[in-house]
């Protein structure tokens, strides 16, 4: 009877000076780290803008709508690269979202025994550990030969559709987007899986209890409830896709063209930077590349803000959706 009182007293003792010091230093450490990331990002933006200044002043907005890149003549324009970046990333992210979310549902909804679930989960996470350059080589030696016959058949028989206007020679938008999809798949799957797993089991049980099928439960309860996390995973994946460099530099063809065809070679901003940066000689060359980097940064920022906005808008109506789903 005596012992618990002692323990209770020791728990309820006022904080010592050491406790207070630890608390305070922890609080300040977290603040410092949070501020540190913000400062780093700001410094990067400032530095890039400063280096880009000669090109910004000289070319202004025409830089983003011009199609020519000729360092010798001092002409710089990145429209084909913006087009290529957005096209490869959006195809990649759509594919990754479809397969990633489906995979996440499969992994969480008790379709398979737990041990198998753990193996599959780790295998998918392992995809994230493969170096970019290996993905590039894999794309060149496996993906391209594998998809080429189908693509060229599509071109031969349905070439009137703009998407299939050119044959797939080797490198091009489609192989790049496919490899990109696989590269961002682990991001989408892992985060969506966590979001789906975090859905309150009571909600699910309630749906089952009301006679909903598993299909109805997934579509009506689980996915709508976890959609915030799923959006987050897609936005993160898209961010990675936009900035991915090495695999794309190897697979996209570095061709300065804008074509609606999925099989045409193209170029992306990150690949352009990787290809041109080592040899940029003058301040203007360097400025043009920094300007391109700034555009890429802004594109990524817009994607993140857009994603956040969709999430916000969605979460305000989430309760209504949830109610509807449950009442179904």
């Amino acid at each position: 009877m005596k012992t618990p009182t002692v323990e209770r007293r020791s728990i309820a003792r006022p904080p010592t000076a050491r406790d207070l010091a630890v608390d305070a230093s922890f609080k300040w450490a977290t603040r410092a780290f949070a501020a540190f990331s913000a400062v780093v990002v700001t410094l990067i933006v400032i530095l890039i803008s400063k280096e880009a200044m000669p090109a910004i002043l000289k070319y202004g907005p025409s830089f983003v709508v011009s199609r020519h890149w000729d360092a010798g003549k001092g002409q710089f324009g990145i429209l084909p690269e913006i087009f290529g970046t957005l096209l490869t990333s959006s195809i990649g992210v759509v594919l990754a979202a479809v397969f990633g979310i489906a995979g996440a549902v499969f992994l969480t909804e008790e379709f398979i025994p737990l041990w198998l679930e753990n193996i599959l989960k780790n295998v998918i996470t392992l995809l994230a550990a493969i170096p970019s350059v290996v993905y590039g080589l894999w794309g060149i030696f496996v993906v391209i030969p594998a998809i080429r016959p189908t693509c060229n058949w599509l071109h031969a028989h349905m070439g009137w559709i703009p998407l299939f206007r050119t044959p797939l020679l080797s490198v091009g938008i489609l192989p790049a987007a496919l490899v990109l999809a696989i590269m961002i798949l682990p991001t989408v799957t892992a985060i969506s899986r966590d979001a789906i797993a975090a859905v309150d089991p009571l909600l699910r049980e309630a749906a089952f209890g009301m006679g909903a099928t598993r299909w109805e439960t997934i579509w009506g309860v689980t996915l709508p409830t976890s959609r915030r996390g799923i959006y987050g995973s897609i936005v993160l994946g898209l961010g990675r896709a936009l900035g991915e460099t090495m695999a794309l530099a190897m697979l996209v063809g570095s061709a300065n063209v804008i074509s609606p065809s999925l099989f045409s070679p193209a170029d992306t901003l990150a690949a352009l930077l990787a290809n041109k940066f080592p040899e940029a000689a003058s301040a203007l060359d360097l400025g043009a590349l920094m300007y391109a980097a700034l555009v890429l940064l802004i594109l990524t920022l817009l994607v993140n803000v857009g994603g956040e906005w969709i999430m916000r808008r969605d979460s305000t109506s989430k309760s209504a959706v949830g109610e509807k789903a449950v009442s179904k």
Partner: protein, 369 residues
Amino acid sequence: MVRASGGRRSMISLRHLHLLLAFALPMLGVQGCAAPSDEVTLQGSGATFPAPLYKRWFLEYYQQNHAIRVNYSPIGSGAGIRQFTSGLVSFGASDAGMSEKEISRLPEKYGGVLLLPMTAGLIVLSYNVPGISGPIRLSRSAYLNIFLRKTTNWNADEIAKSNPGLSLPNQSITMVTRADSSGTTYAFTSHMAAVSKAMNVEWTPGVDKSVPWKESIAAQGNDGVAALIQLTPGAIGYVEFGYAKLAGLPMAALENQSHQFILPDGKGKSGAKALEGATVPNDLQIRAPDPTSAEAYPIVTYTWILVRKHYEDKRDADTLKALLLHCLEDGQQSLAQDLGYVTLPSAVVARLRAAIQTITTTPQRMQQP
């Protein structure tokens, strides 16, 4: 429970520590022993084109003389010039030489730059045309028009005319170029410009280390271009001889100024013919954009090592001089030939020897010979 698992964890990490030490200690020991005070390390960077040869030269030199280590990073000519200018490396390397503008950016303390044409090589047109036997012969107008995108199919009359024995397929031509800026592109475009001029055609891409090609797919480095040609049916691209040979790519026989079709050969004979008779200017930036000899392979370029005229560190300068002189010896030059490069003409070797001797280490600056 918590305590037990904590104990296990620390045991594991202790075991790891042992492992770590087992690996790390000998490594530290080796590193400690291998740094005697008389070792010299030289760092160079630049062109990818001569990289296989330079690496071989420097490795063999190291095997003969363990005190001297020379690292060479093939990062491209433009980047090599930039690193040389900013003082990051002891020497640079460039397939395009250096322009006056680039020379003017060099720091005062270098006392100027010596451009040493240490070797020369062939640029070949490699292709991937399925189902043909034997090398394709390309006339001057044929390969000019291919790279101007005026000829876009392998069965075009212009190509077929010079290849009566081959059944060329109805396959569109894909041009493969360099994505990075490179000395190989510079040498190739200067040749193309010379050919266009002789034929009164405008060479629209211009002459530079990086030019705006019309409708091409591009890859990084000579090896990247070779790989992309291999991958793309109907492709044609320009690569250094050694890289094409390594990738096992077929190479076209090209028509030279005297209307002979010459195959690039690994013995360096057609290349040596091309270098014959080229005038040697004082700065040793020897150009032979369109060789005249009947036996000459048409696209040959020197590639330069860039050194300062003045080094502050005497030991670095002496080492570099000894190394460069060593590379000019007959044995090293025949090694170049074995790797598919061109042996330097003896007149050029003599000029190089003299130039290398002018590198100084005293504050007094030397005039160019």
